[in-house]
């Protein structure tokens, strides 16, 4: 069963930006908001060399890692070709203007 946790109001994440959620264990989670207000959550760890994806530039439904520029698909966590790699994803939802994360 998913255990939904209230994270923050949607407006606390900038459009085309992100926030970092720190877990007690299991590493940081990056929550992204697109220009259409879709929200996605990925492990804050690039499949290339572990760069913090939360610090990247968000465009469309992708984020560009700040360290060496890999592009990661927000929906699936897959790296965009020709790079190959996968980044763990988490369930998120927005309800009543608030962001919830399933952990």
């Amino acid at each position: 069963m998913s255990n939904w946790k209230l994270i923050c109001p949607l407006e606390d994440i900038p459009q085309l930006g992100s926030r970092v959620v720190q877990q007690a264990a299991g590493g940081d989670i990056a929550i992204f908001r697109t220009s259409e207000d879709d929200v996605f959550a990925l492990h804050d760890k690039c499949p290339h060399k572990g760069g913090p994806l939360s610090q990247g530039i968000v465009h469309g439904k992708r984020v560009t890692c700040p360290l060496h520029g890999w592009n990661i698909q927000l929906e699936s966590g897959e790296a965009v070709a020709p790079d190959v790699g996968h980044c763990g994803k988490f369930e998120v939802k927005v309800e009543g203007g608030k962001v919830y994360l399933a952990v």
Binding site: K5, I7, C8, D12, P14, Q15, L16, G17, R19, V20, V21, Q22, Q23, A24, A25, D28, I29, S35, E36, K49, G50, G51, P52, Q55, G56, I57, V58, H59, G60, R62, T64, P66, L67, H68, G69, N71, P82, L101, V103
Partner: protein, 814 residues
């Protein structure tokens, strides 16, 4: 509603490229049907030569496999030749009776080899050289027969001859002209080429008229006879005496043709429903026979098929390269010269090198390189950019590479590199890997190479080498685009220049309005274009356009440099490299309080605190601000440091107060954003201890005032700054340097440093606007001061404008 139908006749390089371009911008617009007379999916025809030479296999040269057609939902008719177009019913009919109707038709039928109208030209064993079937026929013939004759000493003929020779045949090339490749080479180079091919065992008969081909007993061709009575054995005859655009089908259906299917600048034929691209086309009277121009046509045609209506094809300058391994030959543009042109020539027959550059009105208009072609792409770029070369004329012939970029063993010529030499030092990519990717994946542009191999995708210093590798692997298929036409990134076809000009002329002040006005292909750009557009907006309309933090790279958003482990580095400004015990104490306190693991003196005369956690940044900066220190912008495309020497303040040789001059400049430029980072230095005398010779602006004190140098760079490619002007007062130093930097801010393209900007526009242009025009200079200077008038420490701005949430992680309790 059903989609409109697009039918394409001819499944070759130009046609399929058009579909690829179309699918990129309007993937679901049409139901697409393709007819191809050959039984193969689209392949790289150019590489038939290496296939014949035994260097590649047919399966290696497929560009679009069956999956590609399926994935793009293309209804594919292979091995079916279209025999009729009914323009009234809007239908095409193929040999086997298949009928497809169209709303738009794309003709891409290519061309066919010209078969000399002589007796015997239809005998068995007499072929053209155009497709896989011809190539297979040659490979097969080489197994059974001895004597081959190639008619035509052009590019195609020589590649055929070389391949047949490598397959063990005895090959004679018959040529009507006085020297080989007379359409690409002048006589000297033509003769040098002949000599090296003769050394490989090829035979040549020049200025020979073929009279007839003679059949042997089996009915297969056995000999060739010339008008002068001479006769030689020939069991295989390859006609490579030119090509003829395939216009029969178009002509029969009443579409106007004249040496090709006649099209306008949007690749539309006289029937507005019918478009045409490729070798079958005559555009402004020219039918091209190389792929680079055809690909340019494809791009424009796709844009119009997608109903965007942007872009015109206005013709191409072409360059060629012979694809015979071991022979380096390059020619471009008007290589013969003539009235009104001058020639710069280097002729070293013993060394096997010949270079001729043709110059007209101080511009390069053509050239031939034989033996050493490594600078071919560079010359071709100069030619396409129509660059004024008079400043570099003395050294033009010796090529681009007086100084090599660092990081690839000083090599500046791809030709000289072995396959396992490292080209890209950042990503560890070897030359062989790049060559293989180009061949196997069918890559044609630097962008594609970057994407598929990662080479040149980080610091970019090897871009030039990668372009050379592309050019030498692709031959004439290599497209050098004029620099001011190169698309900014994959999200748009517009260049930096177009974007800048549109923002200015249409007074755009948000990224959304730019994306809309210029029909961006992506909803909100990418990591390449967003920062560029953001810079153009805020530099063009300083107090009007609002900075967009989400369009900035993380360093500029966090006002600190991100490190490999995700921590940050903090570099407080030390004006002119000067500091005080109080500042040092504040830095020491901050370092202790926030457990900074590394404290280092930078190459820019200040102190770097490395390894700071992101959530500590605001607190640390609050402390540093309180001690009177501000951000050093060690992270931004912005003013970095003004390096100084001790100057006349202390030094026994000092002629000017270098420290105080440096501090004044740094204060004036504080918080200045630019296309790329900007570094200055002020030295008190020509001993130049502050290294002003490799700075964007270098100031050197002399007894009577200051000398100002611009466009230096100490980074990837060391570039010595050029003398700009001499002034007498401190105020003039500020005004001239400030005005120059403002000009760079207004004209430079994003990520172009001053040295690259200077190389692009030329020193004369800059001097004309800043040194020679006093009023203009003042205007630039005032615009700089105006845009910096409210400059504040970025940390102060962050604190005022919004809660700095980005620095505060959300903690999730277990």
């Amino acid at each position: 509603m059903s989609k409109p139908k697009l039918v394409m006749v001819g499944n070759g390089m130009a046609g399929v490229r058009t579909l690829e371009e179309l699918f990129k911008i309007a993937p679901d617009m049409y139901d697409v049907t393709v007819f191809g007379a050959e039984p193969h999916p689209n392949y790289n025809r150019i590489l038939l030569s290496p296939v014949l030479a035994g260097e590649m296999k047919v399966q290696d040269i497929i560009l679009n496999d069956h999956d590609w057609y399926r994935d793009n939902k293309v209804n594919l008719h292979l091995g079916k030749k279209v025999v009729k177009i009914d323009r009234v019913k809007r239908q095409v009919i193929s040999e086997d009776g298949s009928v497809e109707s169209y709303d738009r038709l794309l003709m891409a039928t290519g061309s066919t080899p010209f078969m000399l109208p002589i007796p015997g030209n239809n005998l068995e064993g007499v072929i053209g050289y155009r497709d896989i079937a011809d190539t297979d026929a040659m490979i097969e013939a080489a197994k059974h027969y001895q004597h081959a004759v190639v008619i035509g000493g052009g590019l195609l003929g020589l590649e055929a001859a070389n391949g047949l020779k490598l397959r063990g045949m005895d090959v004679t090339v018959v040529h009507l002209g006085p020297w080989l490749l007379e359409r690409q080479l002048d006589e000297v180079a033509g003769k040098m080429l002949q000599k090296s091919l003769e050394d490989r065992g090829l035979k040549f008969l020049l200025e020979k008229h073929t009279e007839m081909l003679i059949a042997g007993e089996s009915g297969r061709v056995a000999a060739i006879r010339f008008k002068d009575g001479m006769q030689i054995p020939a069991e295989l005859v390859v006609m490579a005496a030119g090509i003829r655009p395939n216009t029969a089908l178009a002509e029969a259906s009443g579409i106007y043709c004249n040496r090709g299917i006649v099209v306008n600048d949007t690749l539309q034929t006289f029937d507005p429903k019918v478009y045409a691209v490729g070798e079958c086309v005559a555009h402004r009277g020219i039918a091209y026979g190389l792929v680079a121009p055809l690909f340019e046509q494809a791009k424009v045609a796709a844009n119009h098929l997608a109903n965007y209506g942007i872009g015109r094809y206005t013709g191409s300058v072409t360059s060629t390269k012979l694809k015979v391994t071991g022979i380096d030959l390059f020619s471009a543009g008007d290589y013969m010269g003539g009235k009104g042109t001058e020639e710069i020539v280097l002729n070293d027959p013993a060394g096997g090198v010949y270079k001729k550059l043709v110059v007209k009105d101080n511009k390069l208009v053509g050239g031939v390189l034989y033996g050493d072609t490594s600078d071919g792409p560079w010359y071709f770029q100069l030619l396409k950019d129509a660059k004024d070369i008079h400043e570099i004329r003395d050294t033009l012939l010796f090529g681009q590479s007086m100084v090599g970029d660092v990081g690839h063993q000083g090599q500046s010529s791809a030709a000289a590199m072995s396959d396992d030499a490292e080209v890209c030092g950042c990503n560890g990519v070897k030359k062989g890997t790049i060559v293989r990717a180009i061949k196997e994946k069918g890559l044609f542009t630097l962008d594609e190479v970057k994407k598929h191999t990662k080479a040149a995708s980080s610091c970019g210093s090897c871009s030039g080498l990668c372009e050379q590798i592309l050019a030498s692997t692709l031959g004439g298929a290599y497209q050098a685009t004029a620099s001011d036409k190169k698309p900014l990134c994959g999200c748009t076809d517009y260049s930096h220049k177009d974007v800048r000009e549109t923002i200015r002329s249409r007074h755009l002040i948000t990224k959304e309005s730019v994306f809309e006005a210029m029909e961006w292909k992506t909803p909100n750009g990418c990591d390449k274009c967003r920062p560029a557009v953001n810079y153009y907006l805020i530099s063009t309309f300083p107090h009007e356009a609002k900075d967009d933090p989400q369009s900035r790279f993380i360093n500029e958003r966090a006002h600190a440099n991100i490190q490999k482990d995700g921590t940050y580095s903090v570099v407080p400004r030390m004006w002119g490299g000067l500091t005080t015990p109080a500042e040092l104490r504040a830095i020491a306190d901050a370092a202790e309080k926030y457990n900074v693991p590394t404290v280092k003196v930078t190459g820019g005369q200040r102190i770097d605190l490395l390894g700071v956690k992101k959530d500590d940044l605001p607190k640390m900066w609050a402390d540093l601000n309180a001690a009177g220190m501000v951000s050093g912008h060690a992270y931004g495309k912005s003013i970095r440091t003004v390096k100084t020497c001790v100057g006349a303040e202390h030094c026994r040789f000092g002629t000017q107060l270098a420290m105080s001059m440096g501090v004044k400049l740094e204060k004036m430029l504080f918080d200045m954003y630019a296309p790329h980072k900007v570094k200055l230095a002020v030295s008190g005398c020509p001993r130049n201890c502050a290294e002003a010779g490799i700075k964007d602006v270098g100031v050197i004190g002399v007894d009577s005032g200051y000398e100002i140098y611009i466009g230096g760079n100490g980074g990837i490619k060391t570039e010595v700054a050029q003398f700009f002007c001499k002034v007498t007062t401190d105020e003039e130093v500020m005004e001239y340097s400030g005005a120059f930097l403002q000009l760079y801010r207004e004209e430079g393209w994003y990520l172009e440093r001053t040295c690259h900007y200077l190389e692009r526009v030329g020193l004369e242009h800059i001097k004309g606007k800043i040194v020679e025009d006093a009023e203009g200079r003042k205007a630039y200077y005032n615009r700089l001061l105006d845009s910096l008038k409210n400059a504040k420490d970025p940390w102060e701005t962050s604190r005022e404008e919004k809660p700095i949430k980005q620095f505060i992680p959300i903690r999730l309790e277990a």
